[in-house]
């Protein structure tokens, strides 16, 4: 089968690999119908996630048709078209039973700090990802969800990560009616967090980024205020000025390790890998939120330490909420929102590429070429239909 093949930082190619097999009685094999390149794939692509091995296939956002199931799988059968949450979750450990499907204890041997995820290095369990023609899907009765017949597959593939992550970012922020929500990062997740902040009753939603085309998109899609931090000079000072010198009620970090805007953070976090990423957005979030405010983190960082003003967290009495989204927990509500027309995920898709052009896809997305917001990869089998 065709599959993406990681060859080292900034180098990927399409290759032939053996098709996956059932390795566990609760496995399914899925033929991929859509897969996305996610912003967090760029951390792998840039070589900043430890234990990202040469020859790996990335991709944790995908939909597909079930081809084969293991003997213990009861809810799925061959032919079902499913969306596959990026979390691999057993559904019965202490953490899954608490709804923390992103923190399953039976899906990743390599790290206790990280749950299992498709195509996200051995630090997330060493699973092959969905940027391929076929994928092995463990715990097939837990995560995969049949795509409703009336749902567009483009909407479905964005329900595997982007929409749930943006939604949970807003949910974790504990937004109260009338709150000012400030979101750092106008990538797909940040845009969706801005859109979802309204669903929780925000009074004002502000999004900050450095790319004008993304800010324009965000302002239109999420009906929010959008500002370029390169023009603001000091985004923290702007946050204070625009909130009558109080600070935002809530700040959301939707950037993570690849943040720009601070030379020291960029050097230490992105160039020298001396910390778990460039923590510029988190730094700004801590300093922009009001005293007693809430920080919600969905931006992904590496497992090592990051330079952030933790003293200000204490002195300001902040609450920090953070997690990989538990897709399965929020999925039923989000499916309703999509079916009712409240959310329109597919509007985020700007690029559609053949799987074979994976290297170009990564380049376009990572360099923000051609006003790219969200690229989707189409395997050959889908293009033939």
């Amino acid at each position: 089968m065709l599959a993406m093949n990681y060859r080292g930082p900034l180098r990927v190619r399409i290759d032939h690999k053996p098709e996956p097999e059932i390795l566990h009685p609760e496995d399914a094999i899925v033929r991929v119908t859509r897969s996305c390149i996610c912003g967090s794939d760029l951390h792998l692509y840039n070589g900043s996630v430890p234990d990202t091995r040469i020859g790996s296939t990335f991709g944790h956002e995908f939909t597909g048709v079930v081809e084969e199931v293991g003997p213990k799988v009861q809810k799925l059968k061959p032919g079902d078209h499913v969306l596959v949450p990026f979390n691999i979750a057993c559904g019965r450990c202490q953490f899954c039973r608490q709804g923390l499907y992103g923190n399953c204890h039976e899906a990743n041997p390599s790290a206790t700090a990280v749950g299992g995820a498709f195509g996200y290095s051995h630090t997330a369990g060493g699973y092959e990802g969905g940027q391929a023609e076929y994928v092995r899907v463990p715990y097939a009765d837990v995560g995969p969800t049949k795509i409703p017949e009336d749902m567009d597959p483009d909407d479905a593939v964005l329900l595997t990560d982007v929409v749930p992550t943006g939604y949970q970012a807003a949910e974790m922020a504990g937004i109260q009616e009338g709150d000012t929500v400030m979101i750092f990062g106008a990538g797909p997740v940040g845009i969706m967090a801005a859109r979802c902040s309204w669903l929780f009753g925000a009074g004002r939603v502000i999004i900050i980024d450095e790319l004008d085309y993304r800010l324009e998109f965000a302002a239109d899609y999420a009906q929010c205020e959008a500002y370029n931090f390169r023009e603001l000079e000091d985004p923290v000072l702007f946050a204070k000025q625009t909130t009558d010198w109080i600070g935002a009620d809530v700040c959301i970090d939707a950037v993570g390790a690849e943040a720009s805007g601070n030379a020291l953070q960029t050097l230490a976090g992105r160039k020298m890998l001396l910390q778990g990423g460039s923590a510029t957005a988190l730094h700004w979030a801590i300093n922009s939120v009001k005293k007693g405010g809430v920080i919600s983190i969905v931006g992904v960082y590496g497992p090592t330490a990051c330079l952030v003003p933790i003293g200000s967290v204490m002195n300001k009495g902040l609450t920090i909420r953070a997690n990989q989204v538990a897709v399965k927990r929020v999925l039923p509500r989000l499916i309703e929102h999509v079916q009712n027309g409240i959310l329109d995920p597919k509007a985020l898709i700007t690029h559609r590429l053949p799987l074979e052009d994976i290297a170009e896809g990564y380049r376009i997305f990572s360099q923000k070429l051609d006003n790219c917001i969200k690229p989707v990869l189409m395997p050959p089998s889908v293009r033939m239909h």
Partner: protein
């Protein structure tokens, strides 16, 4: 403000339940407990297994037919795991070493990052061993730059060519200077046929003639 006693009374009147016997000696224990004020809400639903430890009925163990590293912060390999890219070669040895340390240690994470870089070199060797010459232009997706950012790509290529040209010129200049220095130190070819004589073609041999040591 409520006193601890008032809070205790309120707690009892609200039917919040009795203090467990093991905490009965601690005055005011749990008096302000409020499940709705859990900062992890709504992500986490508290259930009755909070303090039961690693006691759940585990899923069937996936057969372990390959080398699987597991964090030393857990006692076992998780019930399922990925089988992508087993450890190999020198990078595999480095990964084995890194997994001797907990996730708290820089040795663990930086060891893995270093192993990744070694793995990259092993990948190139592996490609060459399979008669595959990596196509860096393809693998880096530079066609996209040609389509969407041509001006910048041309600028980068031009800047790269200038840098290489400058480096070459500096290296040549340095070589000539070294040879001249050697001449100053007492060495000068006696004739144009000697090795290295081309560096001294424009050199005034006569002016140093008296200081030249015979070869």
């Amino acid at each position: 403000m409520e006193t601890p006693e008032e809070k205790q009374t309120r707690r009892e009147q609200s039917g919040a339940g009795d203090v467990p016997s093991q905490y009965a000696h601690i005055k005011g224990w749990g008096i302000d407990a409020d499940p709705n004020n859990n900062p992890t809400y709504p992500m986490k639903q508290r259930v009755d297994i909070e303090h039961a430890g690693y006691s759940w009925e585990r899923p069937t163990q996936q057969p372990v037919n390959m080398e699987v590293h597991h964090s030393i912060e857990r006692p076992n390999i998780s019930a399922v795991f990925g089988t992508s890219t087993p450890p190999r070669g020198l990078s595999g040895m480095m990964r084995r070493w890194a997994f001797k340390y907990s996730e708290d240690q820089y040795n663990h994470w930086l060891g893995l990052l270093m192993a990744d870089r070694v793995d990259m070199i092993e990948g190139v060797v592996d490609d060459l061993a399979h008669a595959h010459l990596p196509n860096l232009i393809e693998e880096k997706g530079l066609r996209a730059d040609w389509h969407y950012d041509r001006e910048r790509l041309i600028g980068k290529v031009a800047a790269g060519a200038c840098a290489v040209g400058l480096a070459w010129w500096l290296w040549q200049r340095r070589s000539s200077k070294e040879e001249a220095y050697r001449a100053e130190e007492g060495y000068l070819p006696h004739s144009d046929d000697e090795p290295g004589a081309e560096y001294f073609r424009d050199y005034d041999r006569e002016s140093f003639y008296g200081t030249i040591r015979p070869l």
